[in-house]
Symmetry: C2
Subunit: 362 residues, 2 copies
C-alpha cells in the first residue's frame, strides 16, 4: 500500500499580517527560517513518499507560487480548487484524484503551514499511522502536550488498539473517544495533568476509498458532488465540471463534517517537535533565539529586550528598546507592533485596513 501525501495549501490566514497577504498566505512564507513552509512540508516527506506521489491542493491565486516553490512537483499532482470551500470538499477532491490513480492508495493529509523540528520522527509517525489507515481506520496523529496550550484542539484518547505493531511506551495507537475544542487555560492544565489528551495536529491518514465512503455517509450531498467530479476526471470536461460543481459544495471542515461523526478514528501519539505556528508569538518555538529569548531577523536591533520577536523584513533597521514580550514586524509597506499575547488580534488591524479601503495591503 502506497502513501500519497496531500499537502493542503489553500489557507489564506491573516494572522501573519503584514507579512501575509491575500497573494502571499502563511504557507508561502519562510516563517520557520528554512524556506517557505509549503516547500519545507514537501521536502521532509522523502524517503517515505517521493515527490511523484505527493499532491498539493491550493487555490488558483497561489498555483503559480506553488509551482515556483515546488518546481519538481508533477503537473497533475497540483490540484487546484476553483474557490475555497474549507477542508471537507478539499479532502474529497484530493481523494477522487488519488483513488483514480491507486484504488488502495493511502492519503496523508498534511497542513502546508506547520513546522516539524524532527522530520525523521515525523516520517516514522506517518508510517505508523499509515498502517492503521491501511486497516481501514481514519488515523490521526496526536501530539503529546508539553504545556497547557489553549490555542490547539485536543483529542481524548480511548481504548488501546491491539495488535498494531510495536511502539515506544506511551505512544501506542488508540481509538479517539472524542474531539475537544480549544480549551480555556484551567481545562488545558487539567488535560495536561490527565495524560489522556493529545493535541490535534490536523494530520490525518486514510485510504481514499474509506474517506469517500465516510463522506458519502456523513455528507451525502457532497458525496454526490464528488461523484460528478470523479466521472469527469481524466476527460476534457474536468476543469469545466469542477468550476461548476465545486463552488456549490458545502463549506465545512473535514473535522466537523466527517471526523467528529465517525466511529473509526484512530490516533497515533507522537513527538516530533511539532508546531502549527499559530501566530508571530509562536516563532520563538521554531526559530533560534538569543540568550534573552529574542527572535531577530534582518536589521533588527533589540536593546534591553526580552522574549521579543522582531522581524525587519523591510530591509531597513528596526530598533526596539526596553520592551519585553512584543512582536515587531516591518514588512516594507506596513509595520505591526503588538503585545505578544495579543498576536491573534492582528486580525483587528486587517479589519481596520479593510474599513479604510486599503485592500492593497491585505
Amino acid at each position: 500500500m502506497m502513501i500519497y501525501p496531500v499537502v493542503m495549501a489553500g489557507g489564506s490566514g491573516t494572522r501573519f499580517w503584514p507579512l501575509s497577504r491575500k497573494n502571499r498566505p502563511k504557507q508561502l512564507l519562510a516563517l520557520a527560517g528554512d524556506g517557505p513552509l509549503l516547500a519545507a512540508t514537501v521536502a521532509r516527506l522523502p524517503p517515505l513518499a517521493p515527490i511523484a506521489r505527493t499532491y498539493v491542493v491550493c487555490g488558483p491565486a497561489h498555483a503559480a507560487a506553488v509551482r515556483r516553490m515546488v518546481p519538481r512537483l508533477p503537473a497533475r499532482n497540483l490540484v487546484i480548487e476553483p474557490c475555497a470551500r474549507n477542508t471537507a470538499p478539499c479532502v474529497g477532491l484530493a481523494a477522487v484524484h488519488v483513488l483514480r490513480r491507486d484504488r488502495e492508495g493511502i492519503m496523508a493529509m498534511l497542513p502546508a503551514d506547520h513546522h516539524i523540528a524532527e522530520p525523521a520522527a515525523f516520517r516514522r509517525a506517518l508510517a505508523g499511522a499509515a498502517r492503521l489507515a491501511g486497516d481501514g481506520a481514519i488515523a490521526t496523529i496526536g501530539i503529546r502536550p508539553t504545556r497547557p496550550e489553549t490555542g490547539y484542539g485536543y483529542l481524548k484518547v480511548g481504548a488501546r488498539i491491539p495488535g498494531s505493531g510495536r511502539h515506544p511506551r506511551g505512544l501506542q495507537p488508540a481509538w479517539v473517544e472524542r474531539f475537544v475544542e480549544k480549551p480555556d487555560v484551567v481545562t488545558a492544565a487539567r488535560y495536561l495533568a490527565d495524560g489522556g489528551y493529545l493535541w490535534n495536529s490536523g494530520i490525518f491518514l486514510f485510504r481514499a476509498d474509506v474517506i469517500l465512503e465516510e463522506i458519502r455517509r456523513a455528507m451525502p450531498v457532497l458525496g454526490e458532488q464528488l461523484a460528478v467530479i470523479e466521472a469527469s476526471l481524466g476527460t476534457p470536461a474536468y476543469t469545466r465540471t469542477l468550476r461548476r460543481v465545486f463552488p456549490a459544495c458545502p463549506s465545512i471542515s473535514i473535522d466537523y463534517g466527517v471526523m467528529e461523526k465517525s466511529r473509526r478514528i484512530a490516533v497515533l501519539p507522537a513527538e516530533f517537535g511539532w508546531s502549527d505556528i499559530g501566530s508571530f508569538a509562536a516563532l520563538a518555538e521554531v526559530r533560534r533565539t538569543d540568550a534573552l529569548g529574542n527572535v531577530a531577523e534582518g536589521e533588527a536591533m533589540i536593546i534591553d529586550g526580552r522574549n521579543d520577536v522582531v522581524l525587519a523584513a523591510g530591509n531597513r533597521p528596526v530598533a526596539v528598546i526596553g520592551l519585553e514580550d512584543v512582536v515587531v514586524v516591518d514588512a516594507g509597506d506596513a509595520v505591526l507592533v503588538c503585545r505578544k499575547d495579543r498576536a491573534q488580534d492582528v486580525r483587528q488591524a486587517v479589519e481596520e485596513l479593510r474599513r479604510r479601503g486599503r485592500e492593497d495591503l491585505l
Copy 2:
C-alpha cells in the same frame, strides 16, 4: 532699548532618531505639529521683535534649511558658526554681531527647539525679563514647575528684586541663588513642594555689552578670541577670521562657563505652557491626544492602546495593538519601537547604527 532675539539653532540632537538626522536636527522637525520648531520659534516673536531684529545662529550644514524655513530672515541676521562649540562661543559670537549694530541692544537667547503653548504670555515674560536685562542683569526665565520633572535643570530662587515693575502674584523677579543640576525624583518632588525652585528654561536675556563683559571676566581666552572676530566684523576678512578663530574657542556651555559664576543672574518666573520636548515621550504634552492619551500621526492605527506615541511618518500604515506607554516611529528608512520611559535611550540605537557603519541613517 531694543530686543534682539537670537535663536540658537546649532543643535544636532539624536534623541529624535529616526526622525532627526545629522542634516535634519530636532529644530528643523515639526514635532509640535505646527511647522518646524525653528520656524515656530521665530514666528512667535512679533510684535515684541520684528524679523528684521531677529538673529538665527546655526552650523553650515543647516544654513540652507534655515533660509528655506525662515525665508524672510535678513541675510545678515543668519550667523553661521563654522563648527559646533557649545553655547558660550555661540552667545559670544551673536553678542559681537548685536553690539556692532546697537551698543545698547538687549539679546534674548532662545533655544530653537522648544514649544510654547501661549505665545502672548511668552512675549510678556520676555518683555519683563528685558527690563531686568536693561538694568544690567543677566535675566533668565524660570518656569513654575507643575510636576516633579527630573529631565530639567532648576533655578533656586533667592532674594526678591525690588522696584522692577508690577508682576502677577508669585511671578515677581528675583536673584538666582544657584543653578541646580537635573535632580532625582525624590529631590524633584522636594523642589516642587518647596516652591522656591523654577525650571531653567534655557532662555536668557542680557545686554550685548554685559554678556561680553561677563565672558571676558569668566573666560578671558574666549573674550580675546571674540575681540579678534569683532575686529574683522564688517570687513572682507570676517569669514576667514571666523573660520580660523572660532574652532579654537573652548567648547563650553554658557551656563557652565559664565552663568553659574556670575553674581548678577536674575530670574523672572513665568507660565506660558513651556516644553523643551526632551524626547518622543514629551509629545503628549504638546500634541493633541485622543481620549486614551494617544498621539497618532499619519497612518497610525492604535488598537487597544493607551498613552502611546505613534508617528507613521513613512507614508505607510503602522498598526499598534494592545500596548501602553510605547513610542513607535516609522521614519520611512528606519523604525523605532521604544518604551516611553526609555525614550532618552534612543541614543543607544544611534550608537549601535554607528558601530554597524550605517552613517547613512544618522
